[in-house]
């Protein structure tokens, strides 16, 4: 799966969590722009993990602040 396809699928998954309908690009941050709290993060991460059959450990999550970093991380984790 290339980056564009991964991006499309993540965009579909993020929709129910994007309650305020924030316009999302690679620089959109989860804590700041999307106002995700820790419970939302857990549910959102679980949705991505199940969709791509990967694990994103909390150690890896700590490095992911914005949307573009998430897409990159998912691409990398699928390749591993």
């Amino acid at each position: 799966m290339d980056r564009a396809q991964t991006d499309t699928r993540i965009r579909g998954l993020i929709e129910p969590f994007n309650k305020k309908g924030v316009a999302i690009d690679d620089t959109t941050t989860f804590a700041g722009d999307l106002e995700f709290d820790s419970l939302t993060v857990m549910d959102f991460v679980a949705a991505i993990e199940d969709e791509f059959d990967i694990i994103i450990s909390m150690n890896q999550q700590a490095e992911i602040e914005n949307y573009g970093q998430l897409v990159d991380a998912v691409c990398k984790l699928q390749g591993d």
């Binding site: 679980a46 990967i54 694990i55 450990s57 909390m58 150690n59």
Partner: protein
């Protein structure tokens, strides 16, 4: 002024707003005198204690107190040393022997607190490239044990067996795996389906650590906890526990049948680099643990108290953390922090102390009034408690 404390400004503001409304500070209560395991003088008022985790009421047991006094006379007030240097006295050996007997396990290691037991064991056994799979509602000491170590941390939704299994299956081949669970979750007072969860963990090649802090002494045929009650204690690699609840003093421990367990005493930093428990504390703990082996009548009364309080609060219209009583903790769910603090204060004025629990300690940002029962609460006291809840609940509009 902006400095390192600026990050605490929102919390300082929230506290000031709460206290400005006139309520007593729920996090600054002083017990001026403790009359028994269930009664104290708090802020000048005689108060029934319903939030102490003193499940078996051992704090005023005459044998326990005498053991502590004897140890003070014979061994002094403190050890001034690490367990691995000058801090292991006869009493430390004796309390570890008592634990081995209580759990029928080969090894027991005593820490200075329960917090340090989780911190030490979890951070030491799971190293870099190992995976810790844990319940998202785990106690702070478990999370801090994860933070102190270098393992990959993978949480799953509370008590969700399928979510746990999916994560275990995705862990790369060859990586070490530790599943961390609790018997009783202390915020809502619910128990874990350990039998099914441990079977899944074992099928996926993981070691299992279970924190039984809130079950020791009264859950399971021998009071060994939820894993014993569900018949899977022999599948648990490490049981973590504490002396600060049913045992009635302070300290923490890990018991295990692992043949190499004793090496922990040399490699576990929160065990090595701190002073050991005072002689009086290990003496009271050892005496209390041995008495808990024969506590079946007290256990039965504690369960009766838990059932009566749960049914009574439910009938009054309070929203509770569990549909049926699963432990000696009953969580009463409050609509928000302000009204929760108001209800907490109304109860205190009635002469009842419960814990006000708030985020981030609570799941799902809830405010809880957490009640923990004691085997020494009389049936009459439980009825008195219910009447206090009814008056306070109506006065504050919660029911």
């Amino acid at each position: 002024m902006t400095d390192l404390f600026s990050k605490f400004d929102p919390l300082i503001q929230q506290r000031e707003t709460l206290l400005a409304s006139g309520v007593e500070d729920p996090f600054n209560l002083v017990m001026e005198k403790v009359l028994s395991p269930t009664r104290a003088i708090c802020n000048g008022r005689e108060t029934i204690l319903l939030g102490t985790y003193n499940y078996m009421g051992m704090t005023f047991d005459p044998d326990v107190i005498q053991a502590g006094k004897d140890a003070l006379d014979n061994f002094g007030s403190g050890t001034t040393g690490s367990r691995v240097l000058n801090g292991t006295y006869q009493g430390h050996r004796e309390v570890e022997d008592a634990l081995k007997e209580f759990y029928a396990m080969d090894h027991a290691m005593v820490f200075s607190t329960g917090y340090q037991a989780n911190l030490g064991i979890i951070s030491t056994i799971a190293g870099k490239d190992d995976y810790i799979v844990l319940d998202i509602d785990s106690h702070a000491s478990i999370w801090d044990g994860c933070s102190l170590g270098n393992a990959q941390i993978v949480p799953f939704k509370h008590n969700d067996i399928e979510a746990m299994e999916k994560r275990l299956r995705r862990i790369p081949e060859g990586a070490g795996k530790l599943v961390v669970l609790e018997g009783v979750y202390s915020m809502m007072g619910d128990i874990a389906p350990l039998k099914d969860m441990i079977a899944v963990a074992k099928a996926n090649g993981a070691m299992v650590l279970v924190d039984e802090a809130h079950s020791m002494g009264f859950i399971g045929p021998n009071g060994r906890g939820v894993a014993e009650d569900q018949g899977v204690l022999d599948q648990v690699d490490f049981v973590i526990g504490t002396f600060s609840k049913s045992v009635g003093t302070v300290g923490g421990f890990c018991v295990s049948n692992h043949p190499k367990f004793e090496i922990m005493r040399l490699v576990c930093r929160p065990y090595v680099f701190t002073a050991s428990l005072p002689p009086s504390v290990v003496a009271t703990a050892a005496t209390s643990i041995r008495k808990l082996m024969h506590g079946s009548n007290k256990r039965a009364h504690l369960w009766e108290n838990s059932r009566t309080l749960h049914a009574g609060l439910k009938a009054l219209g309070f929203q509770l953390g569990t549909d049926v009583p699963q432990s000696a903790i009953i969580a009463v769910i409050m609509p928000d922090l302000e009204r929760g603090a108001g209800m907490w204060e109304a109860l205190l004025r009635e002469g009842l102390y419960v814990n006000l629990a708030r985020p981030p300690a609570t799941p799902a940002n809830m405010t809880l009034l957490r009640c923990s029962l004691c085997a020494e609460h009389s049936s009459e006291q439980v009825q008195t408690i219910l009447a206090m809840f009814e008056r306070a609940g109506k006065a504050t509009g919660i029911i």
